[in-house]
Structures are given as structure tokens and as C-alpha cells.
């Protein structure tokens, strides 16, 4: 396998410092790969892909009437994060989640941050994720965002940025768990020499976080995972996590509110549910409070929740902080609530509701990424450098029509990782989604997380729905 000529080009490469020269943390892996014939690497990729398919690590494609799931493409060259670097990320993420959680509690109660003129009230009230029914709510232990999957990226110079916080129902944990399982069986030798932090205990941490949400007098609380059902694109993950935690996977139709408590229908009658790890969006949780046409939720659930008789993870309403305009204020939140300087940077963000920013954005569309404030998954987005004049004009119109709903950011040259493409190793852009669990007195960051990779040459979009794949993420012990 020839890697002497691998060229990071103008990008920050996670494994190579410069042409043919690996970074110290990646050196053992690269040396080992050099000894490996290309065919063998390809074979390993084949085996890994088959293993993932057999494990059923899939996502659904909505349009396929036969309900056939697709395997999330997987690249066998791992992404490596050095110990020191991880330590810093960990600190930064803890700080950020702590502040965001305080923000959520504040914004649905006292709203001090508005009264102190840090964030304009119009911004909060116009955020689609801001849910009026959540005003005055006090979730158990003051925790709103129990599980967060923050998206991080690196620019040309290697600096880390937070791209999105994903405080609602981030998915992907099952992929990094299964990726690791496959990597361990594919490359046991090199895995051992590299001293990689293990990730297999994520389900235990998750269960612990959920069990933490019940008052101590409940001796044997019932935890469930709530899924929209088998046609949801992340169904595999819902089922996988329920299985790994040993808890029931329920759908809305399994649940019912009786006598003021949430109950599930079992073959032996009704049984009380104490904690829900819900993978159903806020809007669909309770037809009596949110969308009345929802069949995915449970009528009366919110009432039970408000009375503290069932815990929801995450709490409804966290989406307000996923609004991309609100996102721009996170550094301010960190200063305001914690009195600290942010450890992790935001991507500089132009807010189109500010006239000055809007003018700049409209005049520089080709240099910017424009995003709708309330979209995710790579939708509702314009990447200036890859767009036609018509597309730019269309976005300009949209921005003028609804400036509040648009933000723009400079186009970052996301970092790359060597990736096996057909019969060559080429650099491909990646992001990183670590998972952060908030347990009140402790915030836990799971080592690594999901590295998503844009398999299309030059592409910056890593979403699975748009041709992205994933890699195993190796956080080194030292």
C-alpha cells in the first residue's frame, strides 16, 4: 500500500501532517497500513460492509416501498484524535452543555437572559423550537438536554468549531458502537497497539442517565425507548439501544394515560412507565398539546410530564437552542451563565435579521454557506461556492422575504481523513459528533463519537441522506 504520496493538499488532514508524513498520533497506523496490500484492505472493507449489513446497521430509505434498508457506508480507515486534543474538546463540550442547559431552564422560566438584554425576546419567540406549552416547566433535577450530539468541524488551520448543538433527538450512537465492533474484529493487531479508548459502554452510561431521572423511592423504575416505528429512518438505532439497555421499545400506540400515570399495554394488563427516552419529535409527543393529528405520541403525556409523574429525555422544548440564530448566542450564554470564556468556538455567524449582516450576506453569497434557521440534516442550505447564479438568486429572495429565518457562515474547509475510494486512498472531508450525557451533578462526554465522512469527492455534506458515510473514531489514551 503506497502512502508516501498521500497529499493533504490545502486541507487540515487528521492523519497526515504533510505530504507522505503522518502525524505522530497516527504514525503506527500508517506504518502498519503501508505493509498491507491494497487487495487486503479492500477485502477488509468488503467484510466490514457485509458484517454491518448482517448486523442490520441500516437506515431506511423512505421512497422504497419494499421497506429495504440501506447500509450506512463505512470506511475502514479510522479517524484518530490525540489524547491532549480530546481532553480539550471534552472540557469545551461540558462547558457548552452546562450553559445550554441553564439557558433552557431560564428561557422557559424567569427569562433572565432576555431581561438582561443578552438575547432579544423576538428571537426567542420567533424560534420554531420555542414551545409555549413548556413555559413554567421544571423537569426533574433541572435537566433539559440529557443527551446531546454536538456536531464539530475543523477548519484549514485545524481549529475546532461547533457547527450545531443537536439538543433534540440526535441519532448515530448505534453506528459508532457497531463501527467499533467491526473494526475490532477486522484489525485486532493494530487496534491493540494504538491504545484506543473503549466505547462499548455507551448503553450503560445512557441507561444510568435515564435511571437517574427517577426519584430514589422508586425501587425498580420502568425505562422505555419511544420510537415512531419501523418506518422511521433511525429505527434500527432505537431498537438497538433498547436492546443494549435491556428496556422495552415502545410505540405511541403501546402507551396510554390512565389514572394520571403513563402506562403501557402488556399481555398482563397495564404497567406504569417512569422514564421515556423518546426518539419522537416534540411536535408529535402529545396530540392534546402539540400537533393534534399525531398518532405517534400519547394523548395526555405532557400533563403527566408536567406533574412530574414521568420523565422525558430530552425534555420537550430543547429545540429552541437548535435554532441557528439562537446558536449564534451560545458564546454569550457561556459568559452570562458561567462567567467563563468559551473553550470551543462557534463558527462566525451572520444573522440576516440584522440589516448590516443581511447586506453583507446578500453581497457575498458565493463566499458563504446560507442556512435556514430551523432546518437540519443538510436540507435548506446553500453552499455559495458550489451554487449556480439561479440558486443564489433564489436564496437571496428567500432571505429578503424572511430574514429572521436565515443565517450565513463562511465556508469552512472541513478537515480530511484518508479514505479508501475504489482502489486508491484519497482525502475526504469529515465532521465529528460526540455524545454528551447530562446527569445533573455530572456531565459525561463519551470518548469519540461518530465521524461522518462525505464520500463524494470535494463534497462538504456528510449527512447520510446525502451520500455520507462514517468512520470509526479512535481517541487515544495517551
Amino acid at each position: 500500500m503506497h502512502l508516501e504520496n498521500y497529499n493533504p493538499e490545502l486541507f487540515y488532514d487528521e492523519l497526515f501532517a504533510e505530504l507522505g508524513k503522518p502525524r505522530p498520533s497516527a504514525a503506527p497506523l500508517i506504518e502498519w497500513m503501508k505493509e498491507l496490500p491494497l487487495q487486503e484492505l479492500q477485502q477488509h472493507r468488503e467484510t466490514a460492509q457485509i458484517a454491518l449489513f448482517n448486523l442490520g446497521v441500516t437506515f431506511n430509505v423512505y421512497s422504497d416501498s419494499q421497506g429495504i434498508e440501506k447500509v450506512f457506508p463505512f470506511d475502514i480507515i479510522p479517524r484518530i484524535i490525540a489524547a491532549q486534543e480530546w481532553e480539550n474538546l471534552e472540557k469545551g463540550l461540558k462547558q457548552r452543555i452546562k450553559a445550554l442547559n441553564l439557558f433552557l431552564g431560564d428561557i422557559y422560566n424567569e427569562q433572565r437572559i432576555i431581561k438582561d438584554n443578552i438575547i432579544p425576546t423576538e428571537i426567542i419567540e420567533s424560534a420554531t423550537g420555542f414551545l409555549k406549552p413548556c413555559i413554567g416547566m421544571k423537569p426533574f433535577g433541572g435537566i433539559w438536554c440529557h443527551i446531546t450530539g454536538t456536531d464539530l468541524v475543523r477548519d484549514k488551520d485545524g481549529a475546532w468549531y461547533v457547527l450545531e448543538d443537536n439538543l433534540r433527538v440526535p441519532s448515530g450512537a448505534s453506528y459508532f458502537l457497531e463501527n467499533r465492533r467491526v473494526m475490532k474484529s477486522t484489525f485486532p493487531e493494530i487496534f491493540q497497539t494504538m491504545n484506543v479508548k473503549p466505547v462499548d459502554d455507551y448503553p450503560s452510561h445512557l441507561l444510568e442517565t435515564l435511571l437517574n431521572l427517577t426519584p430514589p423511592h422508586l425501587s425498580d423504575p420502568t425505562v422505555v425507548v419511544l420510537t415512531p416505528g419501523i418506518y422511521n429512518s433511525a429505527y434500527f438505532e432505537h431498537s438497538f439501544l433498547a436492546q443494549q439497555m435491556g428496556v422495552e421499545l415502545v410505540e405511541g400506540r403501546d402507551l396510554v394515560v390512565v389514572d394520571g400515570y403513563l402506562q403501557m399495554r402488556t399481555t398482563k394488563g397495564l404497567r406504569r412507565v417512569d422514564v421515556i427516552y423518546r426518539r419522537v419529535d416534540d411536535d408529535f409527543l402529545d396530540p392534546l398539546v402539540f400537533r393534534s393529528d399525531s398518532l405517534l405520541g400519547v394523548p395526555g403525556l405532557m400533563n403527566v410530564f408536567r406533574q412530574g409523574r414521568v420523565a422525558l429525555a430530552n425534555a420537550p422544548g430543547t429545540g429552541v437552542a437548535d435554532d441557528k440564530v439562537v446558536y449564534a448566542y451560545v458564546p454569550e450564554m457561556i459568559r452570562y451563565y458561567l462567567g467563563e470564556e468559551p473553550i470551543l468556538n462557534n463558527v462566525p455567524t451572520y444573522l440576516c435579521w440584522r440589516d448590516q449582516d443581511k447586506d453583507y450576506v446578500l453581497h457575498n453569497l458565493e463566499k458563504l454557506v446560507v442556512k435556514a434557521a430551523n432546518e437540519s440534516g443538510g436540507y435548506g442550505m446553500l453552499i455559495g461556492s458550489n451554487s449556480t447564479i439561479e440558486q443564489q438568486e433564489e436564496f437571496a429572495e428567500r432571505i429578503k422575504a424572511n430574514p429572521r429565518n436565515y443565517i450565513a457562515q463562511p465556508i469552512l474547509s472541513l478537515s480530511r481523513v484518508p479514505t479508501l475510494i475504489d482502489d486508491a486512498i484519497e482525502g475526504r472531508h469529515v465532521d465529528l459528533r460526540p455524545y454528551i450525557l447530562h446527569r445533573g451533578d455530572e456531565i459525561y462526554v463519551h470518548p469519540g463519537g461518530l465521524t461522518r465522512v462525505a464520500l463524494k469527492k470535494g463534497s462538504l455534506v456528510v449527512n447520510s441522506s446525502q451520500g455520507g458515510g462514517s468512520k470509526d473514531t479512535w481517541v487515544l489514551n495517551h
Binding site: N54, L55, G56, Q66, G67, G229, I230, Y235, F236, S239, F240, A242, Q243, E248, L249, V250, E251, G252, R253, D254, V256, V257, V258, Q263, M264, R265, T266, T267, K268, G269, L270, P287, L288, L295, P299, G300
Partner: protein, 335 residues
């Protein structure tokens, strides 16, 4: 266990078993038709008759030609009891309870569906016998894997009930096929052709060898007795229903011989009757009439099970419930 989950694991097993039995149906007929003496025309309609879906078939295909019947029963994605549909539905059910069943079970169902799907894309007559063999094997494999990897918990028992209830029903129907076969005239009874038909029938339920060991000579009454009343042969109606009864009582904890819900009562009555019947009683009623009645009774057990275990309605203000109950499975599949 969640009612929905119990329902899914029950149907997962029923559908696998149904696919298996449809393969047996068609396979036995293919064999029989090869043994017909010159001058006798092929009979494919009896096969459709036993499924109880003759009307639907006539509407869709008209005449019962070999190709039509085979297509209908094996690969027709629009016919809910075709092998293709059964395996697809089994897979859907399995997918909704993956965290309950073992991953090996899932892999079996998934592989089974991929195999059927592949075959359905190039349905060639010459490869059909192999396809039916593969189908039966896949069903056996699934049952074996489930047996070897799943805890004997409530889920396992519901699965068991699904499989054996389906098997009892299908054994009744397969035995009934013979009723519909027209021998050219009464004189043909007891001739080699008649013998060959009975042998094929026994083969189709994997009973030929076991039958020979216990009964030796092949007579209609003994075959019927073996497939209806035998207490040890795992595809006989009595054996299957006894197992259903046993599993049901494992779930409820009620001792066998007593009952605390209508499902236990209906299976208990049925088993008790079978326990004290002789084949002469059956013949007195008429074999076809008896089998017809038996299918209805087995159906009724299914309905009672649905009411007792799967469709648990909470006592709440009806105006606030907008639950989307999945009654679909029941209406779509009792055929």
C-alpha cells in the same frame, strides 16, 4: 410483555410457518402431477380450494393453470398468503421486535426474505422444486435458531403458539386436499394412483417415514388418524394444539385443565375433545366436514387469543383516545 410485541412475535412465527406450508402444498401437487397416468388432466384448482381463496384467485387470474396457481401461491406480492407476502410480513414483524428476539433469529428471517425476493425476480419452473426445498429449510432453520437462542420467556411461548396454531390449521387443510382430488371414478379407490396420492400427501407434511414406522399399511383412515389424532407426531393437529395449550398456560400460570380466560377455554375444549376422539367418530361426521369444522375452531382460538392478550383496551374516556390500533394483522390473515 407489551401486547404489540406479543402480537408481532406470534405473527412472525405464524407467517414463517405459513410460508413453509404453502411451499409444501405446491410442491406436493407438482409431484403428483408428474405421476398422473396418460390421459388424465392436471388438477390445480383443488390447491386453491384448500386455501379458501378461490374467489380471489378467479378474480385475479381466471383459469387455474399450473403457472397461474404457482404464481399466485408463491410470488404474488398482492396475495397476502403467498410465500412472498408471508415472508415479507414475517420480516416486517421481526423488524418491529428486533430488540426482543435474538439477533440470530433476525438474520434468519432477513436471509429468508432475501432468498425469496431473489427467486421472485426470476421465477423459472425448473428451479421451483429447489425453491420449495429452500423455503422449507429456511423455516426449519428459523424454528431451530429460535429454539436454540431464545429464553423460554413469554415471547417464546407466544411465538410457539403462533407456529403451532398455524401448523395445525395447515395440516387440516393439506389433509383436506385429498378430498378435492377427483379420481376418475369410484373404481380407482385403492388403486396405485390412490396410493400414490396418499404417499405424496404424507410426504408433503414430512410424515411419510414416521407414518410407516407406526402404521405400516396406507389406508385413508389410518392416514387421517395419524395426521389428526397422533399425540407424538409434531405436525399432527392434536400434537400442535396440545403444545399451543401448554404454552398458553405457561404464559398465564393457570394449571392445564382449568381456565381463567376465553382463550384458555377454547383451546382447552378443543384439546379435550381431540383427546377422546377415535378416527371412527371422525369418519362418522365425514372427514371433510370434520376438517372444515376443525379449521373454524382453530380460527376461534386465534380470535380469543387476540381478545385476551393482544387487544387490551384501557378503561379511559373514549373521546380522548385516538390510538391507531393495528387490527390489520387479524383481518388480513385468518384465511
Amino acid at each position: 410483555m407489551l401486547s404489540r410485541v406479543a402480537d408481532s412475535i406470534y405473527w412472525l412465527n405464524r407467517y414463517i410457518e405459513r410460508a413453509d406450508n404453502v411451499a409444501r402444498f405446491v410442491d406436493v401437487n407438482l409431484n403428483l402431477m408428474l405421476d398422473l397416468p396418460d390421459g388424465l388432466s392436471q388438477q390445480w384448482e383443488p390447491l386453491i380450494l384448500t386455501t379458501g381463496d378461490l374467489e380471489l384467485f378467479k378474480e385475479r387470474y381466471g383459469k387455474a393453470t399450473p403457472d397461474n396457481v404457482i404464481q399466485f401461491l408463491t410470488f404474488d406480492a398482492k396475495y397476502p398468503n403467498s410465500i412472498f407476502s408471508c415472508v415479507q410480513l414475517a420480516r416486517e414483524n421481526a423488524r418491529s421486535i428486533r430488540e426482543i428476539i435474538s439477533s440470530e433469529m433476525w438474520e434468519q428471517v432477513n436471509g429468508f426474505f432475501m432468498m425469496v425476493k431473489d427467486a421472485s425476480q426470476r421465477p423459472v419452473r425448473t428451479t421451483l422444486p429447489n425453491f420449495f426445498t429452500q423455503t422449507k429449510l429456511a423455516s426449519h432453520r428459523f424454528a431451530g435458531v429460535m429454539d436454540a437462542t431464545m429464553t423460554r420467556n413469554e415471547g417464546w411461548h407466544f411465538g410457539q403458539m403462533g407456529r403451532l396454531q398455524e401448523r395445525a390449521d395447515k395440516t387440516a387443510r393439506i389433509l383436506d386436499v385429498k378430498y378435492f382430488y377427483l379420481l376418475p371414478s369410484v373404481e380407482w379407490v385403492g388403486t396405485p394412483l390412490d396410493q400414490i396420492q396418499w404417499i405424496s400427501l404424507l410426504r408433503s407434511v414430512s410424515a411419510y417415514e414416521m407414518y410407516r414406522k407406526s402404521q405400516r399399511r396406507i389406508t385413508p383412515n389410518s392416514v387421517a388418524e395419524f395426521l389428526i389424532l397422533n399425540r407424538e407426531f409434531p405436525r399432527s393437529i392434536h400434537f400442535c394444539l396440545k403444545e399451543v395449550e401448554r404454552s398458553m398456560h405457561e404464559v398465564t400460570g393457570t394449571p392445564i385443565g382449568t381456565w381463567c380466560n376465553s382463550a384458555e377455554r377454547s383451546i382447552g375444549r378443543l384439546c379435550a375433545e381431540l383427546g377422546y376422539l377415535t378416527i371412527d367418530d371422525v369418519i362418522d361426521v365425514g372427514l371433510h366436514e370434520f376438517l372444515d369444522q376443525m379449521q373454524k375452531r382453530i380460527n376461534e382460538v386465534g380470535v380469543k387469543m387476540w381478545e385476551t392478550f393482544f387487544a387490551i383496551e384501557p378503561i379511559v374516556n373514549k373521546t380522548t383516545t385516538t390510538m391507531s390500533q393495528r387490527l390489520g394483522n387479524m383481518s388480513q390473515t385468518m384465511g
